[in-house]
Amino acid sequence: MTETDTLVAPVTRESRKYAAYGSPLWQRVLLTREFAVIIAVIIVAIVACSSIPKFATPLTLSYLLLDLTPVLLIALPMTLILISGEIDLSVASTVGISNVVLGFLYAGGVPIELAMVICLAVGLFVGALNGFLVTVVGLPSLAVTIGTLALFRGIAVGILGTTSITTFPAFYKSLANANFPRTGIPLVMVLVAALVIVFALLLHFTPFGRGIFATGRAREVARFSGVRVKRTKFILFLLSGLLASLAGIYYTFRYGSSRGDNAVGLELTVIAAVLLGGVSIFGGRGALHGVIAGVVLIGLLQSALRFSNVTSDVINIVTGALLMASVVAPTVFAWLKSRLFSRFFPSPHATRKVRLQ
């Protein structure tokens, strides 16, 4: 050991304590976008249950969760992809292709379990194609996935044409729609909860997850810090394809229908929910609990408005306005703050400028 080592070591090894953060733990947990969305979910739930007759039933919860399952499944990898600074617009088409392949294979005599495995493999392939084009070829993910959105949808429609396949095993159909006895909680929530835990651990408690944030914040800095940026993104696209194909399998059994135009436009619902949940479209920011709250918020709001016989256009206006408000408000307030606060409370940086003059 040299003299310099002993001098430097105590400083670098000193672990960061909570006191080192700018604000105490409760503030960092509660005063966040994520928590605001969770509060909003609670407010909407209370308002809807108390003011809409027949809304507060287990059946409403059951339908809500069943409707939200595909969105939740896709939102998990979508959150990671958006945080890494990329986007995947091809997810709904992947749901479509998985839905069509499952129906096509089952109608062709392939055992349903094997057909499901093939669907997941198709999902992985689709993800690998997106990942390859983005990471190896180096194309922007927006352009790549707009292309594969059209490509996979075209293939899905091409496989079945205008026909649809509607016979599926009753066991899987009832499994996809069944609730736990005497509750409004669908069985499929077990799968969703397990995947939520896996993705939460992956994003927030592993070096891989920190790498995703670092990549989204500053790609080059992440790379020089030892994050394998390309491999990280490739894995995220694989996960996205896999989960989208899983959502496609669920979709098939939930509705008992396989056709080329199923789940068209689902990618926008997912991205809207993820952004509402506090993930930054520019990458580098977001948390999974906020995303889940965002998905539930949009679903709950739509369900409540539908129950009140509000037309779909008004529902779209309300969800759109909400999304705009949640995306725009922080920017507007930051701008206001910079204008107002810099006048009344000049920052040390500004003061220094004055002194220099």
């Binding site: 135009d261 506090g278 509000v310 909400l322 408000a329």
Partner: protein, 349 residues
């Protein structure tokens, strides 16, 4: 200073988001309660309440059907609500059916986006006592009480041929423009026309049958090709509304205008210009409004228990007269409507 939440950037952002969301929800909550004030009366199980659920909202064809359903519901003293998705998707319709079932509406007038994907939701709704009558697009028979069809295939074929014969007489060469060679309804109509012509107008010869795949440009090109190939053509029947509009556009700009008669299945708005310039004298279509009207009367009869939707059941449907339910719970509105210069302005779809 940094520990104060409102002065930290994140704290401000959080507060801003909270405020925005809260405002959004207050607004949303208000909309909810307002609409509910009118909606709660329709949920009563005593009075007739009919919900109209088309494939999508904002489509002139379905808006026309909605008018008929509303007219009948009002005439029956019931409450009418129109709900539906903004895009034609089965999964979107499922959510609406689930909601209607929970609201315990008396009946649903439905044009289905998918014949089986709605099955589970419809079954649940019917177990809760909601009557389901489909129109325009059916679901599998076990999922609904009745289906209201526009007109029998034979009557549609007959009407199209009769319109052409009225213009060109009962002899000469004619051609048929279809949508696609493998669509069930197209084959039924074209087959029906051939049979009807063979047995009633032996001097009328169908010299060409071509398909435009319901594509405007392809229908346009194929009409041009057929007219060049068959110079003695006296008339064309287009059994598709896309084909009729495309063929009319070609003929109206060509030297065949005034020499070749054109009729078929069309929609009023797409064909209006060609009725006005004389390219098309008359065309055939069923009335969506009458389908909606009949479906609402069927729901009323089903709720009162006068019919159960089985073959041979008889019920009366206001201004449309009396109906008998056919096989598989299907009932047809009746003869198709003939549109010409005298009545086309009364329709908007």
């Amino acid at each position: 200073m940094n520990t104060l939440p409102l002065r930290s950037r994140r704290g401000r952002a959080a507060l801003a988001a909270l405020l925005a969301v809260a405002v959004g929800f207050t607004a949303a909550g208000c909309t909810g309660t307002d609409a509910n004030a009118t909606g709660s009366t329709s949920a009563g199980s005593e009075a007739l309440s009919i919900a109209y659920l088309p494939k999508l909202l904002g489509n002139p064809y379905f808006d026309n059907a909605s008018k008929g359903a509303k007219e009948a519901t009002t005439a029956l003293g019931g409450t009418f609500t129109e709900v539906g998705p903004a895009v034609a998707a089965a999964d979107a319709q499922v959510s609406y059916i689930n909601t209607l079932a929970q609201q315990q509406v008396g009946g649903v007038v439905l044009s289905a986006s998918d014949p089986s994907a709605l099955g589970q939701a419809l079954t649940t709704a019917r177990e809760a006592g909601t009557k389901v009558v489909t129109f325009d697009s059916d679901v599998e028979p076990q999922y609904r009480d009745m289906f209201v069809g526009p007109a029998t295939d034979e009557s549609i074929s007959k009407a199209m041929v009769d319109q052409l014969v009225a213009q060109i007489g009962d002899s000469g060469d004619i051609a048929i423009l279809g949508a696609s060679a493998n669509a069930a309804n197209q084959n039924a109509w074209i087959g029906g026309m051939n049979t009807y012509i063979a047995s009633n107008f032996p001097n009328l010869k169908v010299v060409d049958t071509f398909y435009g795949n319901d594509d405007d440009q392809m229908s346009f090109d194929k009409t041009a090709a057929s007219l060049q190939k068959n110079p003695n053509l006296k008339g064309i029947i287009a059994s598709t509304n896309v084909g009729l509009a495309a063929a009319a556009r070609y003929i109206s700009q060509s030297s065949f205008k005034g020499k070749v008669a054109l009729t078929g299945l069309g929609t009023p708005n797409a064909t209006k210009a060609f009725i006005q310039d004389g390219t098309v004298k008359s065309f055939v279509l069923f009335s969506p409004a009458d389908m909606g009207y009949l479906a609402s009367y069927a729901i009323d009869a089903l709720r009162k228990g006068t019919i159960t939707g089985t073959e041979g059941d008889k019920f009366s449907a206001g201004r449309l007269g009396d109906y008998t339910v056919g096989a598989n719970g299907v009932v047809y509105v009746g003869a198709p409507i003939i549109f010409d210069a005298s009545n086309i302005d009364q329709y908007d779809f």
